[in-house]
């Protein structure tokens, strides 16, 4: 049964159906919230069920698609509707559905205007992101890749904070500019492949075999890399991210940091490197340098931030730097580590954004200077904050450590110097995270206005949001093997492409 029913399509489009439901009943906010919650929960359980049932049925290590769908779509152009699920994408869609449920819970109180539309965009976004993670046809991938920008644009633009218009325009300009180049390269690749083999197709596994000259490959790869680099984001093109994160509503930040950035890294992993192996290898030193710069630079800048959300945003740049390093080195350990780090970053950074959102709800400010002494006022909140901050700085036993460690130790076989610098960069991470923990949780605020403000500790709903995240963080930190086993097969296949 599991192989005949179009499970992947169901998973992708179930939220879309839910989103329209939310849109139609936009006049009844509570109904919208509950509907969206149930739909997203259903999707989560579907993925979880797939996870468990596949775990018994298949051996993960083969690296073949666990589930695949392939139908002709626009035949005259050789475009097919083809989806494929392997261990990496399984974990990522698991993360996607998981975070979407949390986002809906997070927005329960925060979003009060245009509730139906909000949930419409949220679920729509979920569909498009899962599409990116599952598509194996380049055209389909590009379609989902572009679509995901649209709901994000509105999420920031309508429900964002004060400077949302600037942020959202910047976001869309950056991402669109990048993907424009990708479209050109994509078409170029398609035409070259068609001309050389007289088979016009967008299928990833056909296009991988395209014979390309070195300079052609370099140009095409450059265009792809630009699009992915903006999404990840890699150092010089990261400036849209702090603005977008800061201005987005909490759910928007969570999706942006937890999932949209992952699409960039995932695409680099799944498409960028396998499609253009020679050019990719050529770009490795560049990527490593940029990843390291991102790690240092972001951690350094984060220390000077005044807006807590902006700080978390910069921390994203640093963490994604490690992911980039892991992908660039391209061996079993670093790839597993980078993929795991994608998941980890999705969990911890989302949690931090959620926590900042809770603060914003209570204190109505995001200035670090106005925070302080929360341990006395909100012990539960502070405990969670400390926990996720520690996870973020890579305390062993929590999730980030495993990913970072795998990447950095795996790197030493080919790029020992990068390992040295990478470990050193982690110190800078410690510095800014400890500083912000001290300023928010421990020290009293210097701002008299906020000192005496009474604050309520986290509610049951908020515990329900944070506790699963905390459990996931602990689980990956202490027992990452099931997840790593999932990656083993696909990583082996990916490595095969670059031999």
């Amino acid at each position: 049964m599991i192989n005949n029913f179009p499970w992947l399509t169901t998973i992708i489009f179930l939220p879309l159906a839910g989103s329209f439901l939310a849109l139609f009943f936009a006049r009844r906010p509570m109904f919208c919230r509950w509907t969206s919650l149930w739909v997203s929960l259903a999707d989560l359980f579907l993925v979880a069920w797939l996870f468990t049932s596949n775990l018994q049925r298949h051996s993960w290590s083969t690296g073949k698609w666990l589930l695949a769908e392939d139908h002709p779509w626009i035949e005259s152009l050789g475009i097919r509707y083809s989806l494929g699920l392997d261990g990496i994408s399984l974990m990522l869609i698991f993360l996607t559905t998981f975070l979407t449920v949390l986002c809906i819970l997070v927005s329960w109180k925060e979003i009060n205007a245009k509730v139906g539309t909000f949930h419409f965009f949220l679920l729509f976004l979920e569909t498009s992101i899962m599409g990116v993670f599952l598509a194996t046809d380049l055209f389909l991938f590009y379609l989902f890749w572009e679509i995901q920008i649209i709901p994000m644009f509105f999420l920031i633009g309508i429900w964002g904070h004060e400077e949302r218009v600037y942020a959202t325009v910047k976001f869309i300009l950056f991402t669109l500019a990048g993907s424009l180049f990708m479209l050109i390269a994509l078409t170029g690749l398609y035409l070259i492949h068609g001309a050389k083999t007289s088979l016009y197709t967008f299928s990833l596994y056909q296009l991988i075999q395209t014979p390309l000259g070195f300079s052609t490959e370099l140009w095409l790869y450059g265009a792809f890399l630009l699009a992915f680099a903006i999404k990840i984001p890699i150092f010089p093109v990261h400036t849209w991210l702090p603005d977008a994160h800061t201005q987005a509503p909490t759910a928007g930040s969570v999706i942006l940091a937890g999932l949209l950035l992952k699409t960039g890294a995932y695409a680099l992993l799944r498409f960028g490197f396998p499609l253009f192996p020679v050019a990719a290898r050529f770009s490795v030193p560049l990527l490593l340098a940029l990843g390291l710069i991102g790690l240092f630079y972001a951690a350094w800048i984060a220390l000077a931030q005044k807006d807590l959300k902006r700080l978390v945003a910069y921390s994203s740049v640093g963490h994604m730097g490690i992911v980039v390093i892991g992908i660039a080195v391209w061996n079993t350990m670093t790839l597993s580590g980078a993929t795991l780090q994608m998941i980890n970053h999705g969990l911890t950074t989302s949690a931090l954004f959620i926590l900042v959102g809770m603060l914003d709800e209570r204190v109505h400010t995001r200035e670090i200077a106005n925070f302080g002494g929360f341990w006395k006022k909100m012990p539960g909140f502070s405990a969670f904050f400390l926990f996720f901050a520690m996870a973020s700085l890579g305390l062993p036993g929590l999730n980030n450590f495993v990913g970072e460690f795998l990447v950095l130790v795996g790197t030493i076989k080919t790029w020992p110097l990068v390992t040295w610098f990478g470990f050193a960069g982690l110190v800078l991470t410690v510095i800014y995270i400890l500083t912000v923990v001290q300023k928010t949780v421990f020290e009293e605020t210097r701002n008299e206005k906020f000192r005496e403000q009474p604050l309520a500790d986290i509610t049951v709903r908020e515990v329900l949001i944070l506790a699963p995240l905390a459990l996931a963080v602990l689980f990956i930190g202490l027992h990452p093997q099931p997840v790593l086993d999932l990656f083993e097969g696909p990583v082996g296949v990916l490595i095969g492409f670059l031999k």
Binding site: L173, F174, P236, T239, Y297, W300, I301, A302, L303, A304, Q305, N331, T332, M333, S336, G337, G373, W375, K376, P379, A383, L386, M390, L395, P396, G397, F401, V402, F405, L406, L408, V409, G410, T411, I412, K413, P416, T419, W420, F423, A424, L426, V427, V430, I431, L434, T435, Q438, V441, F442, E443, E444, L478, H479, P480, Q481, L484, E488
Partner: protein, 636 residues
């Protein structure tokens, strides 16, 4: 055996976990019982393991953790004699300190948090003690760092405390970088992360690699053990509750660095250069910290600098190739320093949070029990024969002196000077704080000095151990059995590389023992209550300067502040505002402006008038038709 070790390791973890999750909802007594019982259970298990193991060594895998490709980081323990002794010491000291804490924290409402962190700390420390896999060890290594950080800042509402915690974490993390790199290098070179396998394969390392690895490990240990140049966090770490200082910053965590080097001694031993560096850094740190301790007024800061100095002797032992000596000193130091800290805790609490020794006094009569306990600790610290500290320290000095390399003679001299100063500062502290001083104000004398009896008597086991630590390894030249040396002979490096001759040993020990006693007497005359200059600022500028220099720890802290911290913070702002928002972002803005320029040209086009649009329509139509015609014409 696996079960025993498993419970030994995970009792505190379970205790900490229970407290973290539901501790807030438990009655106070229950929470305290859980905390203490878990550690006591560990102690029981450690004793059982010690008894059951006998001469055997165990390499047991508890769980799989990370396994990718060639890398395998499982939760494996390696229980050899070194680990056995260390585990016993850690569980013993921490059991006592947990019990002590119950009464020390009796008025603090945040006890759940406290005990939770303490239990987690014990767990992490036991991980360091037992772990075979370096990654697993790293988990404990960072775990103790975290617990130390959070416990130093336990009374967080004071900014200085939280800052001290942060400083400790960052500085130890700077050390951990090197440790992390060392782990990666081990993986690269030996394809192994297991201490056992590394030690057995160490011989295949080339000298250069071994030096690099040894220095990296040493740098990691320097961070954790607060040696030069990462010394500055430990004195500030005294901001934490006193039991925490006793457990973490005296008995266990700071010695973890030394312990790590002992565990991996076969690697260290391969590189004589690295050993010289280790010994040299240790000798200078010892002297440095001892001098700094001489200038402190805060009783806990004196103890902190003394800890730094004493830990450096352990490193000196390792540098001189005498692991047994290092371990011996580690043990005796753990007992007497914990004793001193706990005694100081009693004093501080009795005097209502008074830290300044010059405001104490008359404690001999008012806290007689504490006085005697503290005396035991002090003589042990000052290495007055025949107490434990004397034999352990002397063994290290001896093996340093006896090392064939000439440079070690010089290092031994420096260490000996440090030892002399140790006597001086110990009894400065002791005499000033405990003897009668008529100059003190009356109202202070009359303050109520009630502390729970339990808090005092729980120190007794430590005192007994401090007194009889000597018997652990009473040198054979004096008719002892050297039990510890025999027990540790099986571990790598357990037998000194160059054992000293019996006459040398005898003369050294007698000589330094007499020297210490002489200095003790001198100290009495310097610091006895009747001494003239006590507590009074002297007009001599030079002395003032000297005091300031010593009490600030040779301005090292200020140097780091000015040379590193401030520029770093300033640079962060510059990078953000000038580079990120400035250069990087402005480039994109400039690009956007180019497009805006073009678009303003296009703006003229969009008049919004219908007729213009229609004209454009026809223009487009004409163009398309013409293009079609042209194309057709040419293609025909």
């Amino acid at each position: 055996m696996k079960t025993i070790l498993f419970f030994l390791l995970f009792f505190p973890f379970v205790g900490g976990f229970i407290l973290a999750v539901i501790g807030r909802y438990l009655p106070r007594r229950v929470a305290e019982w859980i905390a203490c019982a878990s550690v006591l259970g560990s102690l029981l298990m450690a004793s059982l393991a010690f008894g059951a193991a006998g001469e055997k060594r165990y390499l047991l895998t508890l769980f799989d953790w990370i396994r990718v490709g060639d890398l395998s980081a499982s939760m494996t323990v390696y229980y050899d004699h070194l680990a056995a002794i260390m585990a016993l010491m850690v569980t013993f000291v921490s059991s006592l300190i947990h019990l002590y804490s119950v009464s020390f924290m009796r008025d603090d409402r945040d006890y759940v948090r406290y005990f939770c962190y303490m239990n987690l700390f014990v767990f992490s420390m036991l991980v360091i003690t037992l772990a075979d896999n370096l990654v697993f060890l790293y988990l404990g290594w960072e775990g103790v760092g975290f617990c130390s950080y959070i416990l130093i800042g336990f009374w967080y509402s004071d900014v200085a405390n939280a800052t001290a915690g942060r400083k400790a974490f960052v500085l130890t993390r700077i050390g951990d970088v090197a440790f992390g790199i060392a782990i990666a290098l081990f993986f690269l070179i030996l394809d192994q992360l297991s201490i056992f396998s590394i030690n057995s394969k160490a011989a295949s390392l080339s000298a250069g690699t071994a030096t690099l690895l040894a220095l990296l490990l040493f740098w990691g240990a320097v961070g954790k053990s607060a040696q030069l140049p990462l010394i500055v966090w430990l004195p500030d770490a005294m901001a934490g509750p006193t039991p925490v200082s006793a457990l973490i910053h005296a008995a266990t965590m700071v010695t973890a660095g030394a312990y790590l080097l002992m565990r991996l001694f076969p690697v260290i031993a391969l590189s004589s250069n690295a050993m010289v560096i280790i010994a040299a850094v240790a000798a200078f740190t010892g002297l440095f910290a001892a001098l700094a301790a001489l200038g402190q007024k805060d009783i806990k800061r004196i103890l902190a600098y003394s800890t730094i100095s004493q830990v450096s002797y352990m490193f000196l032992g390792i540098g001189a190739g005498d692991v047994t000596g290092g371990m011996y000193h580690l043990l005796s130091h753990a007992f007497f320093k914990a004793l001193l800290f706990l005694g100081a805790g009693c004093v501080i609490q009795a005097l209502h949070e008074e830290h300044d020794i010059f405001k104490m006094g008359n404690l001999r009569q008012r806290l007689p029990a504490v006085f005697w306990l503290y005396l035991v600790g002090s003589v042990s610290l000052a290495a007055i024969p025949p107490f434990g500290g004397f034999f352990s320290k002397d063994r290290i000095l001896l093996s340093t002196f006896g090392h064939p390399e000439p440079i070690y003679k010089f290092l031994a001299l420096i260490a000996e000077i440090g030892a002399v100063i140790t006597v001086l500062y110990t009894f400065r502290m002791f005499f000033v704080a405990f003897l009668e001083r008529p100059s003190l104000q009356e109202d202070f004398r009359k303050k109520d000095l009630k502390i729970p009896k339990f808090m005092v008597w729980i120190n007794a086991p430590l005192a007994i151990l401090a007194i009889f630590a000597a018997s652990l390894n009473f040198p054979e030249v004096f008719g002892g059995k050297s039990w510890l040396a025999h027990y540790l002979a099986s571990i790598p490096g357990g037998i000194p590389l160059s054992p000293a001759s019996a006459p040398l040993e005898r003369s050294m020990e007698i000589g330094s023992g007499l020297l210490n006693i002489a200095v003790l007497i001198a100290a009495y005359f310097l610091y006895r209550p009747e001494a003239r200059f006590l507590g009074r600022p002297t007009p001599v500028v030079f002395r003032q300067r000297l005091e300031e220099l010593l009490s600030s720890g040779f301005y090292l802290d200020r140097l780091y502040q000015v040379a590193l911290v401030k520029p770093y913070q300033a640079m962060a702002r510059i990078l953000w505002l000038k580079v990120d928002e400035g250069v990087v972002d402005d480039q994109f803005d400039a690009t956007a402006n180019i497009f805006r320029f073009f678009s303003s040209g296009l703006q003229l086009w969009t008049t919004g008038r219908l007729s213009t649009y229609l004209k454009m329509l026809l223009l487009g139509f004409t163009a398309i038709v013409s293009a079609l015609a042209l194309g057709w014409y040419y293609l025909r």
